[in-house]
């Protein structure tokens, strides 16, 4: 469905074969009239989106439209920028993560993030995965956790005999899967991905996309991508953001991905995805 004049969007209608056929629709994350500013510059405005549990939602739009800003608002990464300010509400299972009583570290544990460039620590593969769990005081069997996380990240079979080697010794695609394993190891509910394949070759990219499809069985995934074909291939829902004349990004359309890429409701969406602009 399309956004109204203020950019307000509610969740799109159902997707055949998705969760609502077997149970009620629930949303892991929801924004209500969210705006994010850096100092006096409003980067995104009036963003209202609902992210379904165990579904993959892609955020697409031109450079500078604020899609990464929106993503970073979901685990309070913008807090690390001193001038940033978030208005409106960001609800995680119905609770506002910007309430004063909420610990941002706990938010980031439950809402994990994978970045554009693979950023393993200069430590062993094992320690890369175990690190977050150790910091969080994990009391269970660490070996099992590392194996389980690497298996879920589809990396175990490639590294099970070299867990003590440096994470930096892996290929780019393997490093990104290691970072996914590291994110999984602290048992998040949502995984945010900020252009996770832009630094990878086509085969490594397809492996990550395939992995994302498997991960959605366990996690809700929100992915920012500048690659529209990736959004089309890998996501269930897509939100298209664009810049207004005041350069603030806003949601133009939020729809099931198959619908958005075949019958977009807004001309602005159609012009962008078909390349008829400029």
């Amino acid at each position: 469905m399309a956004a109204d004049d203020r950019g307000i969007v509610i969740a799109p209608a159902g997707v055949p074969g998705s969760v609502e056929e077997t149970g009620p629709v629930t949303h892991a994350m929801e924004t209500v009239d969210m705006s994010v500013s850096y100092g006096s510059f409003r980067a995104v405005k009036n963003v209202s989106l609902q992210f379904r549990d165990h579904q993959i939602t892609a955020l697409i739009g031109p450079s500078g439209c604020g899609k990464s800003t929106v993503l970073r608002a979901f685990n309070r990464m913008n807090d690390l920028i001193p001038t940033s300010r978030v208005e409106g509400r960001v609800l995680f299972h119905g609770a506002d993560i910007y309430e004063e009583s909420v610990d941002p570290v706990e938010v980031r544990r439950r809402v994990g993030m994978v970045f554009q460039k693979p950023n393993p620590f200069p430590k062993s593969i094992y320690d890369n995965v175990a690190w977050g769990a150790k910091v969080n005081g994990y009391k269970g069997n660490m070996d099992d956790l590392v194996e389980q996380s690497l298996r879920q990240a589809a990396l175990w079979d490639e590294v099970d005999d070299k867990l003590d080697q440096s994470g930096l010794s892996l290929s780019g695609g393997q490093q990104q899967r290691l970072c996914i394993a590291r994110t999984i190891a602290v048992k998040p509910e949502i995984i945010l991905m900020d252009e996770p394949t832009s630094a990878l070759d086509p085969i490594a990219t397809l492996r990550i996309e395939e992995l994302i499809q498997e991960l959605k069985q366990r996690y809700t995934i929100i992915i920012v991508t500048h690659n529209m074909q990736q959004a089309a291939r890998a996501s269930d829902f897509t939100a298209f953001l664009n810049m207004d004349q005041d350069r603030a990004g806003r949601v133009i359309e939020f729809e099931a991905t198959a619908e958005l890429f075949t019958r977009p409701a807004k001309k602005e969406t159609e012009d962008y995805i078909t390349g008829r602009f400029g």
Binding site: F261, T262, P264, T274, R276, F277
Partner: protein, 228 residues
């Protein structure tokens, strides 16, 4: 600033232009086949049969370009719907050429038989009706004109009526065995022209799909005399 997919959109226009040329070839083939029948022109009928190869070659040329564009450009939204419609029209127009060939082959097969003027007049009339239908449907496609596309099924009604009456026309020839032998294949000619009318309606339906993203059946199945 240059639109980022200018080259791709030029390719789409080229494919569309080739398709329009192919539609012209198919429509003319139908007209010439009916002319050959009405004027009993065996040479013209032979030309129609031979020229079907040109339509087939055009089909292959456009299809190759279509495949290449799909593989390399991964179209979406209205571009994807256009490519879907192009493929549908491509197959429809190739079959329209086949219908013209079928009529032309019948003309050759009944050479020398006594003919029945009322049947010939009805078939000529059907030919005169279906050609503008094809032109109108293609014009609606080129102009992206939904209202014009909706006129095509209306134009199809007299064609269907004439086709339904053809059985009686042929039955009236029963007393004269020689004329009857000529008349029975005219049922197939009538059927071929009725199919060309339906194909024009199919093209119009694709225009609606292209413009709205929803497939709409313009002709209700129960309005047809029999399945096709």
């Amino acid at each position: 600033m240059t639109a980022p997919r200018r080259h791709f959109h030029e390719e789409l226009r080229t494919i569309e232009q080739q398709l329009v040329l192919m539609a012209g070839m198919a429509e003319r083939a139908v007209g010439r086949a009916v002319d050959a029948l009405v004027r009993n022109d065996i040479a013209l009928a032979a030309e129609v049969v031979a020229d079907d190869q040109l339509i087939d070659e055009k089909y292959l040329l456009i299809h190759e370009k279509w495949l290449e564009t799909m593989a390399l450009q991964t179209p979406v939204a209205i571009d994807l719907r256009l490519m879907s419609s192009v493929l549908h029209l491509l197959v429809t127009l190739e079959r329209m050429g086949d219908q013209a060939t079928n009529i032309a082959k019948i003309v050759k097969s009944i050479e020398g038989h006594a003919r029945e003027p009322v049947i010939l007049e009805h078939l000529r009339e059907m030919g005169d009706l279906v050609q503008p239908m094809v032109r109108t449907a293609m014009e609606a496609f080129v102009q992206r004109d939904f209202a014009l596309a909706l006129r095509v099924p209306e134009m199809d009604e007299p064609v269907n009526r004439l086709n339904r009456s053809m059985t009686n026309d042929v039955a009236r020839c029963a007393p004269d065995q020689e004329v009857l032998e000529w008349a029975v294949p005219m049922l197939m000619v009538s059927r071929a022209l009725e199919r060309v009318g339906d194909q024009a309606v199919d093209i119009a339906e694709q225009v609606a799909f292209l413009l709205t993203g929803e497939f709409q059946e313009f002709t209700r199945p129960d309005t047809e005399s029999y399945d096709h």
